[in-house]
């Protein structure tokens, strides 16, 4: 069976600092894989490498059988990999609706001439995507914020706008970077349910970076643990949790595993 995503021996340096070392990962369709590790372990860098933010110098990445190693970001996203960001990156001066619609940029089926003339085809397409955007807003409980400028939204709502923006691009693989950051217990409980529902309803494969252990425990079938760019453990979360190397990595720092 063809893997959805396969990352082969990825290595990345920042001026001498080795942020990711020899990282490999294969994700099958429908999986929910966790990527954990202390701060600065290289998790976000891996997302940035998958999505073409950083140039890959060593290693290769295949998505649905295609070599996407050198693709520019917009093409990777259009091909079906969407993501959210650890530090929310909305288009702050645009409305929530426009933020969400932008996620569907590559799926708008009209060219520049049709846009300049607001042709019939243009209108049909715009209306279809408007409807789609409102459906997602509805789903994420954001309908009443449609016209609100993104920067005026509360933090939690901003996170949900990011998810709606990612989903409208029609991804098959979704990368979530610490979606529960800054959430209390009840909120992260709701988030867990939301991620489950999304995965089911949109038929998603998900890679989840998460700091809160219990989110990972509840959601992921297997996890990879990183420390200083190196993969120190991988397997089902319950096994990994007791791995001595993992315990040391975490306990030596912020004790996030010591619940």
């Amino acid at each position: 069976m063809a893997a959805m995503l396969s990352i082969e021996e990825l290595t990345h340096h920042f001026d001498g600092l080795c942020a990711v070392a020899d990282f490999s990962l294969t994700v099958e369709p429908g999986e929910l894989v966790g990527l954990i590790g202390p701060n600065g372990a290289g998790k976000t860098t891996i997302f940035n490498l998958i999505t073409g933010v950083f140039r890959i110098s060593q290693g290769r990445i295949f998505f649905e059988g295609q070599d996407i190693t050198r693709w520019p970001s917009y093409r990777i996203t259009a091909a079906g990999i969407a993501r959210t960001f650890q530090n929310i990156r909305l288009f702050k001066d645009l409305s929530v609706l426009d933020n969400v619609r932008l996620g569907g940029f590559a799926r708008h089926g009209y060219n520049i001439w049709q846009a300049l003339l607001h042709s019939r085809g243009f209108r049909r397409e715009e209306q279809a995507w408007l409807r789609q955007a409102y459906e997602l807003l509805e789903r994420f409980n954001l309908t009443r914020y449609a016209d609100t400028v993104a920067r005026h939204l509360p933090y939690g709502e901003q996170r949900r706008v990011e998810m709606a923006r990612a989903l409208i691009s029609g991804p098959r693989l979704l990368l979530l970077d610490e979606p529960a950051a800054g959430m209390n217990d009840a909120e992260s409980q709701a988030l867990i349910q939301l991620i489950r529902d999304m995965q089911r309803d949109f038929g998603l494969t998900i890679i989840l970076i998460e700091h809160q252990m219990r989110v990972v425990m509840d959601l992921c079938q297997r996890v990879k643990v990183l420390d200083f760019g190196m993969t120190i453990a991988s397997g089902p979360p319950r096994e990994v949790q007791h791995d001595p190397a993992v315990l040391e990595a975490y306990l030596g720092k912020d004790g996030a595993l010591a619940e």
Partner: protein, 321 residues
Amino acid sequence: MAAVMPQRRYLTWGSITLLLALSWVLPESGLLNPYVVQILMYVGINMILTLALNLVNGYMGEFSVGHAGFMAVGAYMSSILTVWVIPPALSFWAFPAVLVAGGLAAAATGLVVAFPSFRTRGDYLAIVTLAFNMIVKSVLENLEILGGPRGFLGMPRLTSLPWVTAWVLLTLYLCRNLVYSNFGRGLMAIREDEVAANLTSVDTRKIKMYAFLISAFFTGVAGGLFAHLLQFINPRSFSILKSTDMLVMVYLGGIGSLTGSLLGATIFTLLLELLRPLGLWRWVVGPLLLVLLMIFRPRGIMGLKESKWFIPRFGAGSRRS
């Protein structure tokens, strides 16, 4: 809302017709004296320049400081056509095509400028456009066949208030359509966060190119209108100072706003006219105003805001009914 829509359409078409009719009747009947008509034409030409530059500097958030170069290309191209190529008897009818040719020449030049600037991320555009503006000026100064520094003349006075009005309306319409489309939202996304725009599947390089070429096109058209109003152009009319004036109009009226563009062009043109007695000091007004605006009101009067009138009913960011 369904009942509102046709009504609004009548109003829009009604005012367009009225505007065009007035722009013809008022000068023709002598109700407006030629001086006022002249000023109105300057206002219109400046509106086109400001709308065009706002696409790049306002909506897209890049910084072009050399748009006078595109104006020069449009002005010289269209003038060459009417003076050397097109028989005088036909020039009146050929005028729209001549302006389009000027615009296309400017857009083609834009391609040369945009290509290296948008290849990499960063603020290359300001430097490249600055250099471009200076190169265009010095090339024109050294082209004896085009009159060199003395300038080029002999164009018929084809620019009239109805033509200017029609081109303002057309520019406004096309810019509005662009802004309220997938491409327009993509441009604004580039302004907000280029990396994130790429990550939301926006082909930033392609749409930057589109916006820049459309902008250069209309700037070239405005150059043609300008040349056939003055009937005389020289390289100095298209110096950095002219580019500065355009920047002032954009940042005065408001970045990322059609309404602001119209407003900025109007206020600035009238202001300059009032300050004409200052003579050479007039040239200080633009740069000074630009610096003050950048410090105290960087987004301008209408920054990122829009009159409801310009927002299309469907899917423009407003609620469905």
